[in-house]
């Protein structure tokens, strides 16, 4: 087991290093083969670890940060949760690597691309498998760096480089809160090991637990693009589409959910923290869903939908339904990767066109993309019996179970969000794939033929997304697989509700999803389609407000960025150069003046010197006379 775990990490690391250091000298095919091979190798090792898995294990490989009572060894912890996530990460990322071979086929800097992609997988696996918080933090920051470098992959465009920078800085703000939580836990419990922290948690006073929970929540909000730190994710779409699929949809952005679930035994005892988590998740889910309804860039729709879906997962954690949150994390990884890869196919076929209003009628032209994409859409919209339906419903059911006015309103908000989700998802599908083609766009160019490797990778994801529900069927259909598998992890205990109630809830959820479908159908498939599209392109006030993400970016620019830049300039010019240096130079000039006084005596004239000598002797004599008397 120790060997498998080491290989799971070392293979992607080695692949990344090879591509980073000598990738430019290798033939393209070799670099690509290494990059894909190491990920599938890691997946095989994860499978082997799965078959040999009996009970949670900790494997220690050596010391990293250890001095006095501070101990953070290089140690990995494999339990059911991290095992399932490792399988998911290596599998989804393996598919995305394969897809990248096709998508980046004409890219000159393939070595840099694959190196970063591999290093990302390494960092993500460190994050998931770390047995102590500093090591988890290493993975946490490592994925942040890879995400930064990959968002700005096409660095010559200032827009892309700025988007990468924004992602790095905004997530670092969250990371800082997480880091403070880490050192604070060291102060409180004297340990860094996640298992020990969760074990010792009951010893801490509740108020402290609440603050720790909030700090972790801020950290999670940064990485998982939750309010108020959600602003970086829509811009992160500047990166290549497979990067969006891998980092900004399937894996990295769920790190916040993972962290909160991992530390749940610690933070779960504080109802205030849980309420804060739930409110953050619920509000973000709703906020992002409204924004998604008004986007016209295909990838931005998916970006906002990611924020919204992660909001659901956070909401699930806040309701204490870790299994449901983990379940949604898995199905979301499948169907969101699928949607992004499908979107990448559309964008490639249309010669880098991302505006949905320039698309339309693609169903007949790209059937190999349409059908898998439809599967993804059904999951995202929570269409009855799809994977996304079961997992989202499990979260909403758990929120409802908790009761109380707060959670009931969050449940209603979640239902409203589900309605919006179904609406914007089908809006996207209908505008892009149905109706008439936008003639101006494609008649000149025609569609590019897609490499087979790009379309074929969609199939397994579509199957997993649609059939994902089997992983954890609701209780009335027998015990869920995940619920049983996760059952023994602290904090993951099953929630029980009556079968009848669950059936009713699922009925409501199904109705809501179908209602969203109906609304979208009526608006975008009927006779008014062309009128609606024209109106949306012109944009009403509300539409533009939503399209700009409620103007959060502008708000932050006004509140933080501009004052920061001004203050920096003032401190440099006003304080450093004028006040401090000015004062010191004044002092220097004063010294210079004072130095002129004695120099009046040393003019070189013999008379002056003699006068001085005589005066000095007289003074000494006077002193002696005074001292002796």
């Amino acid at each position: 087991m120790k060997l498998y775990l080491a290989l799971i990490l070392l293979l992607p690391l080695a692949g990344g290093l090879i591509n980073a250091l000598i990738g430019r000298m290798l033939p393209r095919k070799v670099g690509e083969t290494i990059a894909c091979g190491v990920i599938w190798g890691a997946f095989s090792c994860a499978l082997l670890a799965y078959t040999n898995f009996t009970a949670p294990v900790t494997a220690e490989y050596g010391s990293w940060l250890s001095t006095f009572d501070f101990k953070a060894p290089i140690a990995l912890y494999l339990d059911q949760f991290s095992l399932i996530l490792t399988l998911m990460i290596t599998f989804v990322c393996g598919l995305i690597h394969l897809y990248s071979v096709g998508y980046m086929g004409e890219e000159a800097s393939h070595a840099r691309y694959f190196a970063l992609l591999n290093l990302f997988v390494f960092a993500m696996l460190v994050l998931v498998l770390a047995a102590n918080l500093p090591l988890l933090y290493l993975g946490w920051e490592g994925v942040g760096f890879c995400s930064y470098a990959l968002i700005g992959f096409w660095y010559t465009e200032e827009k892309n480089a700025t988007a990468g920078r924004k992602a790095f800085i905004v997530t670092r703000i969250g990371d800082t809160a997480f880091g403070i939580a880490i050192i604070w836990m060291f102060l409180l419990f004297g340990t860094q090991s996640i298992a020990e922290l969760n074990f010792l948690a009951p010893l801490a006073p509740p108020g402290v637990i609440t603050v720790l929970g909030i700090l972790l929540l801020i950290g999670a909000a940064g990485k998982s693009a939750q309010l108020p730190l959600s602003v970086w994710l829509p811009d992160a779409m500047a990166g290549p589409t497979p990067v969006s699929a891998q980092i900004h949809a399937a894996t990295m952005v769920t790190a916040g959910v993972y962290l909160l679930a991992r530390m749940f035994p610690l933070i779960g005892s504080s109802p205030t923290t849980l309420a804060a988590i739930a409110v953050t998740g619920g509000a973000t889910a709703f906020y992002a869903a409204t924004c998604a309804c008004a986007q016209r860039d295909l990838k931005r729709i998916l970006a906002y939908s990611t924020i919204s879906q992660i909001g659901y997962m956070i909401l699930g954690v806040g309701a204490g339904a870790l299994t449901a949150a983990g379940f949604h994390l898995l199905t979301h990884a499948f169907f969101k990767a699928l949607l992004f890869l499908g979107a990448g196919c559309v964008i490639t076929a249309l010669h880098h066109q991302q505006d949905i209003f320039r698309m339309g009628g693609l169903r007949g032209k790209l059937p190999a993309v349409y059908w898998p994409f439809l599967a993804g859409v059904l999951c995202l919209a929570g269409f009855p019996l799809s994977g996304g339906f079961f997992s989202k419903d499990a979260i909403l059911g758990a929120v409802f179970e908790r009761g109380g006015s707060l959670y009931t309103s969050l449940f209603l908000l979640g239902l409203l969000t589900a309605l919006l989700t179904a609406f914007y998802t089908f809006r996207m599908l209908f505008i892009v794939f149905h109706g008439e083609a936008d003639n101006a766009n494609h008649q000149e160019n025609g569609e590019r033929t897609l490499p087979l490797v790009m379309t074929i990778t969609l199939v397994p994801l579509a199957i997993l997304g649609l059939g994902g529900g089997v992983l954890n069927l609701p209780a009335y259909l027998g015990e869920g697989l995940l619920a049983r598998f996760f059952g023994s992890i602290p904090g993951f205990g099953a929630m029980h509700s009556s079968h009848m109630e669950e059936l009713i809830l699922q009925g409501i959820a199904a109705a809501v999803s179908l209602l969203g479908l109906g609304l979208a159908w009526q608006r975008y498939m009927g006779v008014q389609r062309s009128g609606v599209l024209a109106r949306e392109q012109a944009g009403s006030k509300l539409f533009i407000f939503l399209q700009n993400g409620w103007y959060l970016d502008e708000l932050y620019r006004l509140l933080f960025i501009r004052p920061f830049v001004r203050l920096a300039r003032f401190l440099w010019k006003g304080v450093d150069e004028t006040a401090i240096d000015g004062a010191l130079e004044g002092l220097a000039r004063l010294m210079g003046r004072l130095a002129l006084l004695p120099s009046a005596w040393s003019t070189g004239k013999v008379a002056t010197s003699l006068f001085g000598l005589a005066g000095g002797v007289a003074a000494i004599l006077a002193y002696c006379a005074w001292a002796l008397s």
């Binding site: 001095t67 009572d69 920051e141 010559t156 800082t176 880091g179 403070i180 920096a568 440099w572 450093d576």
Partner: protein, 494 residues
């Protein structure tokens, strides 16, 4: 050990100066001589590192591994005392590495008065080695001044821009601090003579002086001022950006890599042990200056337009963490602070080297002159990104190790300071990401035809990069080396 290895470490560079004399006018001979001397120093330092576990810990002075002690000026009780413990060893290795880097990086760029330059470098190396080894305060003061004067000439002769202004500013700042320290050393010596009737400058002896609190405060203030200028702490830092901007590359490398560390080293070695109560009382002041420095310098760094100045200000911010780690005076934080001195030395030396290499090619350091270097100088950009990411404090690279340990330890002494300082780690990311974006990414703003790194430069940077990574993922041997001295300093038993 019968070989006086510590004396060799100190005097070999001076002997190297003599060796330079016959080759004074022959640049092709002088450079290899100096480099061989520096490499020999490095070999000695590495040899000490490889064998330190085999050395017996001295009972007196406690915790030291090697001691060379002889009377020097008996009339004043001045002794020639050199001693080595884990902290000194780390600093010695850093010194030896940074000097090799400094000589290698200026291999081609110093074209005038090369031999004078090389001898200045060697004298400085001797002085800095001495500072890190001396345990007699008079001897320490001698070395302290000895490293200052060559730096004065280094900036004044081989610098750029307003080099005379900058070098005078540097000299006046450090000189005024060290004169006060000299007075304090003499006062301490006299007080000791008064109390015991014996005159001595030895640290182990002076530690026994009984000082009334008020005297302690005055003497500590003098020491503290001298070291705070070297650190540099806000608001005594304004000599640093000027000195860095106008210094030749080797000067910046040594200034940032080593001279700043002498202040923090001396505070740990002399300031705190000699005046424990005073240091304790001044802790709030120390914390505040360090915290202000972190935020202030980071903000000012963000506004800079000259790459070298930006990195100079970033140094002030990073040294603020070292200051916090010392002020906390707690084992984990102090280990972190000491290891951070080495980390920052390596990383900042590398960044200054890189700016120097770019300056040699483009003859400008204005950020606005560059852009899109990734496409033109892929190797340079690769290394620059790596060192920038290190400076941002990304874990797995060495800066993180020091800063994280400092903060994890400080929270035990002062949670508020640790939390505030942790908030400060956002800033290096902001200004470094901005620097990287405007220089390495985006489109080029001026057509510049530049050549990428040559093998000599790749060699220098690769070694520094490997050090960054090695210290980032496996700092355990270094931390182990610091264990005993740190424990003794913070009042534990080994």
């Amino acid at each position: 050990m019968s070989i006086p290895i510590l004396s060799i470490l100190v005097f070999l560079p001076l002997a190297g100066c003599l060796l330079l004399l016959p080759a004074w006018n022959c640049r092709r001979l002088a450079r290899p001589i100096a480099l061989v001397v520096a490499l020999t120093e490095l070999t000695l330092a590495l040899w000490l590192y490889a064998s330190w576990k085999g050395l017996a810990v001295n009972p007196f002075p406690q915790g030291f591994l090697l001691l060379e002690d002889a009377p020097w000026i008996p009339a004043f009780g001045i002794r020639y005392t050199l001693a080595l413990d884990g902290i000194s060893l780390l600093m010695i290795m850093l010194t030896a590495i940074v000097f090799c880097v400094g000589l290698a990086v200026s291999w081609d760029s110093i074209k005038e008065r090369t031999s004078l330059f090389l001898s200045m470098m060697l004298v400085m190396e001797a002085g800095i080695m001495g500072v890190f080894l001396a345990l007699d305060l008079a001897l320490f003061y001698l070395f302290w001044e000895m490293m200052l004067i060559p730096m004065f000439f280094l900036i004044g002769i081989w610098g750029h821009g307003r080099r005379l202004y900058s070098t005078l500013k540097f000299f006046l700042f450090t000189m005024s601090g060290s004169l006060l320290m000299l007075l304090a050393i003499i006062a301490l010596h006299l007080l000791y003579a008064q109390q015991t009737g014996v005159s001595s400058f030895q640290l182990q002896e002076l530690l026994k002086v009984q000082l009334p609190l008020e005297t302690q405060l005055w003497l500590y203030a003098a020491f503290f001022l001298a070291f705070a200028i070297k650190f540099p702490l806000f608001p005594l830092h304004t000599w640093l950006p000027d000195a860095h901007t106008d210094a030749p590359t080797a000067g910046s490398v040594i200034l940032a890599g080593l001279l700043l560390k002498t202040g923090s080293y001396a505070l740990i070695r002399f300031g705190y042990p000699l005046f424990p109560q005073a240091a304790q009382m001044m802790t709030p002041l120390f914390y505040s200056l360090a915290l202000i420095g972190i935020f202030y310098a980071s903000l000012v760094a963000f506004a800079q337009q000259d790459m070298k100045r930006l990195i100079a200000y970033s140094s002030i911010g990073h040294m603020g963490y070292v200051a916090i780690g010392i002020a906390a005076w707690q084992p984990v934080a102090l280990s972190g602070a000491i290891i951070q001195m080495a980390n920052h030395g390596v990383t900042t030396a590398a960044l200054f080297c890189m700016v120097g290499m770019l300056d040699e090619r483009a003859h400008t350091r204005e950020i606005a002159a560059f852009g899109g270097l990734w496409g033109k100088l892929p190797l340079w950009s690769f290394f620059f990104l790596l060192f920038a990411v290190t400076a941002m404090g990304v874990p797995g690279l060495n800066n993180f190790v020091g800063e994280f340990l400092i903060l994890a330890g400080t929270i035990k002494s002062s949670p508020l300071v640790a939390v505030l300082a942790f908030c400060g780690i956002v800033f290096p990311l902001i200004y470094m990401v901005r620097l990287v974006q405007e220089v390495v990414f985006q489109k080029e703003r001026q057509p510049l035809s530049l050549n990428d790194l040559n093998p000599r430069e790749i060699g220098i940077l690769a070694i520094l990069a490997l050090l960054d990574i090695w210290m980032g993922i496996h700092p355990a041997p270094l931390l182990e080396m610091l264990h005993v001295p740190v424990q003794l300093l913070t009042g534990g038993t080994p």
